[in-house]
């Protein structure tokens, strides 16, 4: 790894100033992804600004919202009593990610900021538009078994690897951001972006903008939730396809439903069309299957990942089946 300077900050202002002053500086929190990328030479900041001392670890109720500080650890969020009882889908999704050791280090903000696991991105002597714009997409005609089927561009077919974010997009979370221009709130749906012609940009944050927290509005999704992650081994692996399903069920009737899908796009994928279709319908496998077909309308396979065209709807149906099982 290259060497770098290291500074610890304890205020938002100091954190923001530090990266504004030095274009080669970067924040570090849990470091589980950043240190890995630095070891690989994918990311090469000349200075790390350690933001772990910022007061952003709180998990608390604020009115009709759950507030989760950006520096709260993945394991702490997953096991927090408020999260487990009020937002169990988030808890499930977090526990499906990585390993307990990594969840003990990784923060909520860092989880959102993690980069793709695409092997062409990770290997510095391979073409990758995300890592080195203009070099081409190695995965497009290469090995793309793990890659996206939704929202791709010819410049990039990478997927966002997070589990947590799939639950957050389903739960209509909001990202709280502070920056040089002041504070702002970004709906989760608008936080991550599609590759388009700028795949090097994973999200809509601008330089110097710091995630301080996420907020999740209260919802009726406590009883009928399920995060289903299909992967190549039983644990400690990234998703082939994952589905976050939250259902407000009355008898057999679906009052409301929220659906997110992972392992399929450059950003956490919200299944709005399927949600709208399911609202007011009876919870049966046949209905779920119809919803799943709607979801797949614009899907596109790239060869090795063609199986996801089947696996994605199947996983959605299975997640809904499990979520709607009566207690």
């Amino acid at each position: 790894m290259i060497n770098f300077g290291y500074t610890r900050v304890s205020t938002h202002k100091a954190a923001i100033d530090a990266v504004r002053k030095d274009s080669a500086a970067q924040w570090i929190a849990g470091g589980t992804n950043l240190v890995d990328l630095m070891k690989k030479g994918v990311t090469t900041p000349e200075k790390l600004i350690d933001i772990n001392n910022l007061p952003l670890k709180d998990i608390r109720k604020e009115g009709n919202k759950l507030y989760i500080g950006a520096l709260a650890l993945n394991s702490e969020v997953a096991e927090n009593e408020l999260v487990r009882t009020q937002q169990p889908l988030l808890s499930q999704a977090l526990q499906a990610g990585a390993s307990q050791q990594i969840r003990n280090m990784a923060t909520v903000g860092g989880n959102m900021m993690q980069r793709t696991r695409c092997p062409y991105f990770y290997n510095t002597d391979m073409p990758c538009n995300k890592r080195e714009p203009g070099t081409g997409c190695g995965a497009l005609k290469g090995f793309n078994r793990m890659h996206a089927i939704f929202g791709t561009s010819e410049n990039c077919i990478a997927v966002h690897p997070s589990d947590m974010c799939i639950a957050l997009i389903a739960l209509d979370a909001t990202v709280l951001v502070t920056g040089p221009k002041g504070d702002c709130r970004i709906p989760f749906q608008n936080f991550h972006r599609l590759p388009g012609d700028a795949p090097h940009k994973d999200n809509t944050l601008e330089r110097g903008e710091l995630i301080t927290a996420i907020e999740i509005p209260d919802n009726p999704y406590q009883k009928h939730v399920h995060y289903l992650k299909v992967r190549d081994r039983s644990s400690y692996a990234f998703a082939l396809v994952s589905v976050a399903a939250a259902v407000d069920l009355q008898g057999d009737k679906i009052n409301d439903v929220r659906l997110g899908m992972g392992g399929v796009a450059h950003k956490p994928w919200r299944l709005t069309e399927a949600e709208n279709f399911l609202k007011g319908k009876t919870a049966t496998e046949a209905t779920f299957r119809q919803a799943a077909e709607l979801v797949m309308k614009n899907a596109k396979g790239y060869g090795h990942n063609n199986f996801k065209l089947k696996l994605a709807p199947n996983t959605l149906v299975e997640a809904l089946k499990t979520a709607t099982v009566k207690a």
Binding site: M1, I2, N3, F4, G5, Y6, R8, I28, G31, T32, V35, D36, M38, K39, K40, G41, T44, E46, L48, D50, N52, S75, E79, A98, S99, Q100, Q101, I102, N104, M105, T124, D125, P127, E132, G134, T135, G136, K141, G142, F143, S234, S235, Y236, G303, H304
Partner: protein, 212 residues
């Protein structure tokens, strides 16, 4: 690989030679870019001394197994390399150096973490416990005893990480069933395949109710 379904593309689809050249160049550019400008310049001017100062050391104080260490490290040094290479505490193992195997698991402030992905400099003021810190005099920790009894290892290389993880697994309250132990121990790879014995060892310590 009709099997691996990654066909050799026909020649016209081969990655364009021009692009390959570009790639080569661009990886050189990357190498340049990754190199702090001052250092590269220093290297070219043969200013070794000046270059060396770039590799600035940062003071660090941390407690390892109850003993406070006042150190000075380069910011890029991982906690794992600090333990193994600078302090000679080789009980903590390097298996992948990228957070993919769990061999380097230690406790920092009581939580199990991966020391390979932890920059040493970020542990300033923290308490680190490694496998070397488990024994009480000559007396083994109950988890160490249980691993011997149930033969929870073969080559022994992943064992320190498994034991640190196993203790944490119980402390966290994640050892209530064999299934739960399996899931919460999945961040520690054992290539010899001692998993069933590891699960038995942890389940027994949990059942025994001893303080871990």
């Amino acid at each position: 690989m009709a099997r691996k379904k990654l066909p050799h593309p026909p020649p016209d689809q081969q990655p364009h030679e021009g692009r390959r050249n570009f790639l080569k160049q661009s990886s050189i550019l990357t190498a340049l870019a990754v190199t702090p400008a001052s250092l590269l310049k220093a290297a070219e001017l043969k200013l070794d001394e000046k270059a060396a100062t770039y590799f600035e050391q940062v003071p660090l104080s941390l407690e390892i197994n109850g003993k406070t260490h006042k150190l000075s490290v380069e910011p890029r040094v991982s906690l794992l390399d600090l333990l193994r290479e600078q302090l000679g505490q080789t009980g903590t193992k390097k298996g992948c150096d990228h957070g993919q195997c769990g061999a380097c698991t230690v406790h920092v402030n009581g939580k199990r973490v991966l020391s390979c992905l932890s920059l040493a400099v970020m542990q300033d003021g923290k308490k680190v416990t490694t496998i070397e810190g488990l024994e009480d005099g000559d007396k083994l920790h109950p988890m160490q005893e249980a691993f011997i009894k149930h033969d929870g290892f073969q080559c022994g290389y992943c064992t320190p990480g498994q034991i640190m993880s196993g203790i944490a697994c119980i402390r966290e309250g994640h050892a209530n069933s064999e299934e739960e132990i399996r899931e919460y121990m999945s961040g520690n790879i054992c290539r010899c395949g001692a998993y069933p014995n590891i699960v038995k060892a942890i389940a027994e310590v949990k059942k025994g109710g001893q303080k871990v």
